[in-house]
């Protein structure tokens, strides 16, 4: 049998990237800013969103697309805190969300009457870096109990994110964590990145985080 070679030369992510571009256009047309929240599991994404919805929900119209490998737990926690829609995406084992899931979730959200969409990604600092979801930017969280070196261990994520949040700073007196060292590691991979020091539990540092969110509304859509 003769063997024929067919040149393809196509990016494997091409389809996701096309869908992400469509999502980005939709958001832009409706004046909606979308932020893709990424971290390792347990860094405090959901608690940060709970606080943000509770304290900023009156001022900004915030919707959430909450992704989880299994369960609707995160979406359930957030539902009671907003009259905007919380859309749960269960990835069924996949370690990341993709643009199709976000596109489908947005169908159910009234974008015309929304300022800000949080996409709470699956807890994972590796895979979500490869999937463009159509967001204006990624926000990467890491937390004090995880240790100082997350930025150098997962440089791609910290390089790509528009800003970083170091959460659980209320634990600084209790665990061996060198803040200067953590900041040094972050600067190694991303010298300019804006960093917020927060405790979603005590509320410390959240005013700066809220100011950043306000700055991203409307004029802040960089996509």
């Amino acid at each position: 049998m003769a063997i024929r070679t067919i040149e393809v030369r196509e990016k494997v992510m091409a389809r996701n990237d096309e869908l992400a571009a469509t999502v980005r256009d939709r958001l832009r047309e409706n004046g909606v800013t979308a932020l893709n929240l990424v971290s390792s599991p347990g860094a405090g994404k959901t608690l940060l969103l709970e606080r943000t919805l509770a304290e900023l929900g009156e001022e900004l119209r915030i919707a959430v697309v909450a992704g989880d490998v299994q369960t609707h737990n995160d979406a359930s926690r957030l539902e009671g805190l907003t009259d905007r829609l919380v859309q749960a995406v269960v990835t069924g084992g996949a370690c990341h969300m993709d643009a199709r899931q976000v596109s489908t979730a947005l169908d159910a959200i009234d974008l015309d009457r929304t300022d800000l969409v949080f996409i709470e990604n699956v807890g994972n600092l590796v895979c979500p870096a490869s999937w463009d979801l159509g967001e204006a930017e990624k926000v990467v969280l890491f937390s004090v109990p995880e240790g100082e070196d997350k930025p150098v261990k997962y440089p791609r994520m910290f390089r790509e994110a528009g800003c970083a949040v170091l959460n659980k700073i209320d634990l600084l007196p209790y665990v061996p964590f060198d803040l200067d060292r953590a900041i040094g590691y972050l600067r190694e991979v991303n010298p300019e990145q804006q960093l917020f020091l927060t405790s979603a539990l005590s509320g410390e540092g959240l005013d700066e985080w809220y100011a950043y969110l306000r700055s991203k509304i409307g004029a802040g859509i960089s996509g």
Binding site: R4, E10, R15, R156
Partner: protein, 86 residues
């Protein structure tokens, strides 16, 4: 970690290119994987071998070319065209 997603997408791309009926005629499949693509090449090869040995595929061999940068590309498909060699 997401090598299986990538392998499934590669299979989808092959189907889009050739149509489902022709998938069984694929004997080889070439991929370019960058060092910074966030992909473990051995794991991707393992996932592809598993998928390509299940119907409608008939055991096509994946060939992975490592490159610098973050490229992740399906570069070619090799198909048996059913014609005799001579």
């Amino acid at each position: 970690m997401h090598e299986l997603s990538i392998a499934l997408e590669v299979c989808r791309m092959a189907e889009e290119r050739l149509g489902r009926d022709a998938l069984g005629s694929i004997v080889g499949l070439g991929l370019q994987v960058g060092d910074d693509a966030g992909i473990e090449a051995d794991n991707l090869e393992f996932c592809l071998e598993a998928l390509l040995s299940s119907p409608p595929f008939t055991g096509a061999k994946p060939v992975i070319e490592r490159l610098p940068g973050d490229v992740l590309r399906l570069s070619y498909l090799e198909v048996e065209n059913g014609d005799p060699d001579d």
